[in-house]
Symmetry: none
Subunit: 426 residues, 2 copies
């Protein structure tokens, strides 16, 4: 254990559903990661039920040695939301109506078409004396900060989306200001890859990694969509850490360049849209087994209307024929999951939608529909770009969800490599 001046943080997560495991506590993990990145040391996490006594006991115990106590959950408008009252009582604060917050809440509900603020929501404008109100861009329960002599106690709603948006907005500003000089940030650099299996990547990387990694450690983070390489520098000044990270990243570049993509979101669709826009290209999609997932992934990204024209989800064979011009003879002879059908889907949607690139995808997602020749996981993906059209057979493991995710990712990654010039022809 190295001696550290880094501020100490403890978490208290509240909810019977956490104790009884109906909900897995992803907030604790997300907050732990985020606090570490900001430069806190996380010492303890407590989970308690929706019950004032245990909430107070946990917060009190956390306050004994932490500089920051984050309490999540139990801030909603219903009677089982008890956190605010319990913490206020523990810290000896009266609860009063915050007029400004009430106006904001009322405005929010008016905008949503309500003629009045529902009674239960009125309670969300009531805050403990001296609260620092933290804006919640995603919901009606604000975050609340309370300073004590020794420590800052912050309450956040338990809905992950709301908790995260408050943390990333007002709370990060507050923590940076309040703990400025003591924060000891952990520096990360992430290299996103897709299209190469973890085991192969690990083999290649181990051949190139410098013997002296300095303060940097490397982790492989695989998921259904690809493998992230995460470089982490700890315990050194920012500039020195950056220099080390840059050096190690450069050493890995020859291995990863073909599979790598750059995207703040970690989503290859972001890189794809950027590459398409840079090349002045547009794309249209023709999907069968993925049922709209490829289009959804592309349109997840803000600004996608610049590069995405539209698509057809051709679930029924009649739709493949009528909307995309797939040949009924090929459907009969080769089946819907076949090279000619995938190619004709990609070419058909490109032409009919007037896009520069067309995507075709047809496969067996399961659980039903597999045959000995075409088992579940058999997917044909196709690209039509300018006068080139090409199809590939992929065989994907996993259940229906996994096959669909992997199939969409395979075609998005392929199109990205193609458009960004990482892959020519076959």
């Amino acid at each position: 254990m190295t001696e550290t001046r880094a501020p100490l943080a403890s978490l208290v997560t509240v909810g019977n559903e956490l104790l009884y495991g109906q909900t897995v506590d992803t907030n604790a993990a997300w907050l732990g990661r985020s606090l570490a990145q900001l430069g806190f040391r996380v010492t303890r996490t407590f989970t308690v039920g929706d019950d004032p006594g245990p909430i107070q006991a946990a917060v009190g115990s956390a306050m004994e040695d932490a500089d920051l106590v984050l309490v999540s959950g139990g801030l909603g408008p219903t009677p089982d939301d008890l956190t605010k009252a319990a913490v206020a009582q523990l810290l000896g604060r009266e609860i009063g109506l915050d007029e400004e917050l009430l106006q904001k809440l009322a405005a929010r509900f008016r905008a949503a078409g309500y003629d009045r603020l529902p009674t239960p929501n009125r309670s969300q404008a009531e805050v403990p004396q001296g609260s620092i109100v933290l804006n919640n861009p995603q919901g009606t329960a604000p975050g609340l900060g309370l300073e004590t002599d020794s420590c800052l106690v912050v309450m956040l709603p338990g809905v992950p989306r709301e908790l995260r948006s408050i943390f990333e907005g007002d709370l990060t500003h507050l923590l940076r200001r309040r703990f400025a000089r003591r924060l000891e940030p952990v520096q990360h650099r992430t290299i996103h890859t897709t299209g190469v299996p973890e085991s192969r990547l690990s083999e290649l990387v181990s051949q190139l990694l410098p013997r002296d990694m300095g303060p940097v450690s490397l982790a492989f983070l695989p998921d259904l969509r690809g493998v992230d390489l995460r470089l982490t520098a700890r315990g050194v000044a920012i500039e020195e850490g950056e220099a080390w990270l840059t050096r190690i990243e450069a050493a890995l570049e020859p291995v990863v360049s073909k599979w790598r993509f750059e995207a703040e979101s970690g989503d290859v669709a972001e890189a794809l849209n950027h590459a398409l826009a840079g090349a002045g290209m547009t794309v249209a999609t023709a999907e069968s087994c993925t049922g709209g997932l490829v289009a959804k992934r592309i349109t997840d990204r803000p600004g996608s209307s610049e590069v995405f024209v539209g698509g057809v989800i051709a679930y029924a064979d009649a739709v493949k024929v009528e909307q995309l011009g797939v040949s009924p003879e090929d459907l009969r002879e080769h089946g819907a999951v076949s090279e000619p059908v995938a190619l004709q889907m990609a070419k058909g949607v490109r032409e009919r939608f007037g896009a520069s690139a067309g995507v075709g995808i047809t496969g067996v997602a399961g659980p039903e529909g597999g045959t000995p020749e075409k088992p579940v996981g058999t997917v044909w993906i196709a690209l039509a770009v300018a006068d080139m059209a090409e199809a590939r057979l992929v065989r994907l493991p996993g259940d229906r969800d996994a096959v669909r995710e992997r199939a969409a990712q395979a075609v998005l990654g392929w199109l990205h490599r193609k458009v960004s010039g990482r892959e020519q022809g076959r």
Copy 2:
């Protein structure tokens, strides 16, 4: 809070990776569920790092009010596995070699092709005095039970597969024997709703809820897609609990019936597909702002090809006109996000794809594209069923993701209510 004789359990999960969120603590959730099912009340969970002091503090604190303390993690053979020594010291037990365990371990390694027991693994045959050794069918670290005057302390390895197999085997036997008469199993019933906000539902429910809830408590579990009502019965025999749950559920039925759906997955698309199949109907989708998400949700469900024909993602206006027959004049006059366009999308896709129902959806998902009249979150949803066509304006809060999720859910929920006869006309 009803008085209970059920034994109280607390959890202590150990590992730096949990505190820093590199691993989500699924063990805590799994153990919570399993203990509740056995009939324990789970009161608190502590998470601490790989550090003897905090491990002892947490176990000591948990022992103050629990009948059972389960400690998971830190039982492996490597130097950062400190749980056994820390707990033994806390309880004042010497650690000694268990010969029987050593023989078993050695046999296990011989069977795996080793000629001798690796030195680090020898430590796994060393146990605190008086330990109840719990067989680990999946690995080398056994579970260890220690009786004190007031409580049973059990240590389990943190590898989920190993932890679960010990729990389901020797530990369940031990707990049933030790706490036999006091165990009080927990029964749940979940009512899924969508289309009604939590605050409104809570208001309605509070008017109908019987004053005497007996052993049943009610929790509201909201997310982007809707609100689940979870009824929990505790502290009574199974038959009595079931009777109470049925009674409370019946009392709530008049409030929830319009918004309720039945789906094992909790996804309204499952209920929708089932209702469509039951009515001998099919559906086709025409999406703009949701970019394929509605079709993806429908096709997420196995067997969706029975009811889903296909869809058009009409991102560009030209696609709306050419593929769906939307009137260029209406597009010019009212804009793409408008009632006539949504209606024509739903009718157009229904007709061209030969489906019994058509869905149309067009809106401003953001972050760009909002105007004072049509801010981000403005979405028109439309249904065309038989000779009826109807559009609704919804104003949805949140970021791009949230608007898209909520818009897709709004139209899926509406179609489900329509097809299942919960909603007629306006």
